[in-house]
């Protein structure tokens, strides 16, 4: 019998999934980058890398919750685009208005998803596909199909372009807080455990008397809100409300979640490993840029796509190898 009170690193990192592979690959890729490229581990690269990837980490974590219930949310990218436009419009009133405004808008779209899925029983894939189209259309309509300038005079730009306490960008600090909070929710609250149970067996969860619908509403609303936060990061860090952004973000979020070892069918997975997955996928771009900069071989954009696919393949293989060796330990 295992002593569960002892600190078991592997189990801790896995959080109950098959997520060890993501951490192994992450460490390997970082080592590769540090050893191969000058300036890779420089402060500028680290902070700009994290600043850009904060958006993806946030939506990936939201996506993780959705996937844990066995659902999927294709609308996150469009939600981010929509809320970035909204945030840009609100930016003259300052961060204190624009941030909550955009997050609430994301929450509302997430709520709409929940309505379709829970009340109208539309499959998540289709419901969120529709909101993906709808939010994109909405973003174009309210922006008049233009990018919307933010107010450079207000404190709104501080979020995406300045460092907290002169150390790390504010986006990273906020992301870290969100990740830790959601980790606590998943691991230590009844709601979080219900999310996992719903993914593990919806009927069974109903019969166990768990709040299945509540959990579903929660995850879609959460994912929407995360999309909203990503939209704020986008507007504030990239200077404008951008109705055309967010294309394909849902797939990279899904990939991050899965690379993090979460089962797409739900019921098992971890927040921490999802972050690892998101970082890992982001690092591929970063490394490709550095590789091009070394000038030995110049990779065309097409080869880069091939390499990214191949990399995903490698991580997935590693994942499945490790998964077959570590038998799922949970709480």
């Amino acid at each position: 019998m295992l002593d569960t009170t002892a600190f078991d690193l592997r189990r801790y990192l896995q959080g109950g999934g098959h997520s060890f592979g993501a951490w192994v690959a992450l460490v390997a890729v970082i080592l590769f980058g540090v050893l191969r490229y000058e300036n890779f581990a420089g402060a500028y690269n680290i902070s700009s890398f994290l600043n850009y990837n904060a958006m993806f980490i946030v939506i990936s974590v939201g996506m993780c919750f959705v996937i844990l219930t066995g659902g999927i949310d294709l609308s996150v990218g469009s939600v981010a685009a929509f809320t970035s436009v909204l945030a840009a419009y609100l930016s003259p009133y300052g961060l204190q208005v624009a941030l909550p405004g955009a997050v609430l808008a994301g929450l509302a779209i997430g709520g709409l998803n929940a309505l379709f899925i829970v009340a109208m029983r539309i499959p998540p894939f289709i419901a969120t596909l529709a909101t993906m189209l709808g939010a994109k259309g909405g973003a174009l309509v309210i922006s008049g199909a233009q990018t919307i300038s933010i107010d450079w005079g207000s404190n709104f730009t501080k979020l995406g372009m300045e460092n907290a306490f002169g150390l790390l960008p504010w986006t990273i600090v906020i992301t870290a807080i969100v990740v830790v909070a959601l980790w606590v929710v998943l691991e230590r609250t009844s709601l979080g455990r219900t999310v996992l149970a719903v993914g593990g067996g919806e009927d069974a969860s109903t019969m166990m008397g768990l709040g299945v619908n509540r959990a579903k509403v929660f995850v879609y609303a959460l994912s929407g809100a995360c999309g909203g936060l990503a939209g704020v990061f986008l507007a504030s860090g990239f200077g404008a409300g951008q109705p055309l952004e967010g294309v394909g973000w849902e797939l990279s979020a899904i990939a991050s979640v899965v690379v993090g070892g979460t089962l797409l069918t739900g019921g098992m997975g971890s927040v921490g490993a999802t972050v690892a997955g998101a970082l890992l996928l982001g690092l591929v771009f970063n490394i490709l840029n550095f590789e091009n900069g070394r000038g030995v071989i110049s990779l065309s954009a097409y080869w880069q796509m091939v390499i990214r696919g191949g990399f995903l393949f490698a991580v997935i293989l590693l994942q499945s190898q490790l998964a077959s060796r570590t038998k799922g330990a949970t709480r």
């Binding site: 691991e187 009844s190 455990r193 067996g201 109903t206």
Partner: protein
């Protein structure tokens, strides 16, 4: 004294098919109340209406005399009704602890889940059932029996006024059933009422106070258990004359013990990751070989290995043809069949019709040039529905709509239709009513007489002792002894299991 629960004139139809008509039930506080009835009589449906899984079409439910409005299982739990459903309703991907405490987790002062306390509580509750396992592991990694015990543990820990057990003992062995009964008695002593649904009539006499008999969606009678006879109950259940039933007898596996033929399959020194350490046995033509043992002794694992489902680390399975058995497809091609113990996970294809479920394994043989011969398929299916008396609205009804026992019959038909040489039956009569059990057993016996070889796994010692020609006793993944019929008694079997158990424990 007012009844704790009163259900009057309950009606329920599914897509036009009547499941319940004028069913009623009354439960007194602190009594153990049995519900019995044939497969498909409506027992589970009645329970699910009480606990809010289904909505009733008509009728009335009262609790302590007041009308009870429950529309979700959660509300039932909040009203003090804890239920163990027939189809296990747990989350196999999550840990044992979570499955026990989910929804009622102990909290720290910060309002967060206190996992240490949760694990401790779970261990303590399970200890009452004699189960000592790693509660942090996934529930799904444990056997059906353990899962069933976990479900019971959860229900019992909910502080309910009424605990409902829908065929909760179907995968338990005698020892665990005894433990369960002591828990039931202590619940009763604490004033908790228990609804107990089971096809094992013997059990009723051990713990139940009253019994309600259901037939074709109706409650036909309620008696004090002490005033009934087993025969009387059966005749009311089946709606047939008692004398007629007496003449036929109740267990049909016995008989036979004839002259077995040549060895068809031999397992030698099997060892596997799944828990087999050194298991050997052989199966001969015209013979039923029983596998006996306690839960976790490796019976299911032995069957899986023989059928080519789990790879062997050591040892071998030798089919008389000399061909290897590495995959189920090969096993089936060699004339083997395997009726699994977990009907929901390993057996039925829920969306598919009864017809498609029956011919699933046989299909390649019904196919000519890639095309299924539907004429033959229908004839065959009609034959088996008739022969096994499967209660269905037609061969196109989706199997998920059938009652548990009838699903079991469909799965048996799936394998019988193959006209196999060797049939592995893992708990073949689990959840099957007395009448159907009799039918199933006699079908098996008949097939054996015609040359079929059977490997029988059953937690019901009676079935094993009366049915098997030979019983191989397993202990911790090892075959430790073999008992030869005729001459085996339940006592002798228990002795053999216990004897070795003590020796290995020492």
């Amino acid at each position: 004294m007012t009844d704790l629960i009163e259900m009057i004139g309950i009606e329920k139809s599914f897509a036009g098919i009547r499941a319940l008509q004028t069913a009623s039930l009354s439960i007194r506080p602190g009594e153990v109340h049995a519900i019995i009835g044939q497969n498909g009589a409506g027992k589970s449906t009645l329970i699910k209406i009480l606990t809010g899984v289904y909505r009733r079409d008509a009728g009335e439910v009262r609790m302590n005399g007041a009308p009870l409005a429950i529309s979700t299982p959660r509300e039932a739990q909040d009203a003090g009704i804890a239920t163990i459903y027939q189809e296990l309703s747990l989350v196999p991907l999550r840990s044992v602890t979570e499955n026990v405490v989910m929804g009622y987790e102990p909290r720290t002062r910060l309002g967060l889940i206190d996992w240490k306390a949760a694990h401790a509580r779970t261990r303590e509750i399970l200890a009452r059932f004699g189960v000592e396992i790693d509660v942090t592991r996934q529930l799904g990694s444990y056997s059906t029996a353990i899962q069933q015990l976990v479900a019971i543990a959860r229900a019992v820990s909910l502080d309910a006024r009424l605990v409902i057990m829908d065929e909760a003992t179907s995968s338990l062995d005698d020892q665990e059933i005894a433990t369960l009964f002591s828990v039931v008695r202590s619940l009763k002593a604490a004033g908790v009422a228990v609804i107990y649904i089971s096809h094992f009539l013997n059990e009723l006499y051990q713990v139940c106070d009253r019994v309600t008999i259901m037939r074709d969606g109706r409650s036909v009678a309620t008696h004090e258990v002490a005033q009934t006879t087993k025969l009387g109950l059966v005749s009311e259940m089946l709606g047939r004359d008692a004398g007629e039933i007496e003449a036929a007898g109740l267990t049909a596996l016995s008989g036979g013990h004839g002259d077995p033929g040549e060895v068809l399959l031999e397992a030698r020194g099997m060892r596997s990751k799944t828990g087999l350490r050194d298991t050997s046995f052989s199966i001969r033509k015209r013979e039923i070989v029983g596998l006996g043992g306690l839960l976790g002794s490796g019976r299911t694992e032995a069957a899986r290995a023989v059928f080519g489902l789990d790879p062997l680390a050591e040892g071998e399975v030798r089919h008389h043809s000399g061909a290897p058995v590495d995959t189920p497809a090969q096993a089936i091609a060699l004339g083997m069949g395997f009726l699994t113990e977990d009907r929901k996970a390993d057996g039925i294809i829920p969306h598919m019709s009864v017809r498609e479920n029956i011919t699933l394994a046989l299909l390649p043989r019904l196919t000519r040039m890639g095309m299924v011969d539907r004429e033959r398929e229908r004839k065959l299916v009609a034959h088996y529905i008739e022969a096994l008396q499967i209660k269905t609205s037609g061969m196109e009804q989706p199997i998920r709509e059938l009652s548990g026992g009838n699903q079991q019959k469909v799965l048996l038909a799936r394998w019988l239709a193959l006209e196999p040489e060797i049939l592995i039956l893992d708990e073949p009569t689990r959840g099957v009513d007395v009448g159907a059990k009799f039918e199933i057993q006699s079908i098996i016996r008949k097939q054996v007489a015609e040359g079929l070889a059977v490997l029988l796994i059953s937690s019901e010692f009676e079935e094993l002792v009366e049915g098997a020609d030979r019983i191989v006793v397993l202990q911790d993944g090892r075959s430790v002894s073999e008992l030869q019929n005729p001459g085996v008694t339940e006592g002798a079997l228990i002795n053999a299991i216990a004897h070795h158990h003590e020796r290995s424990a020492a």
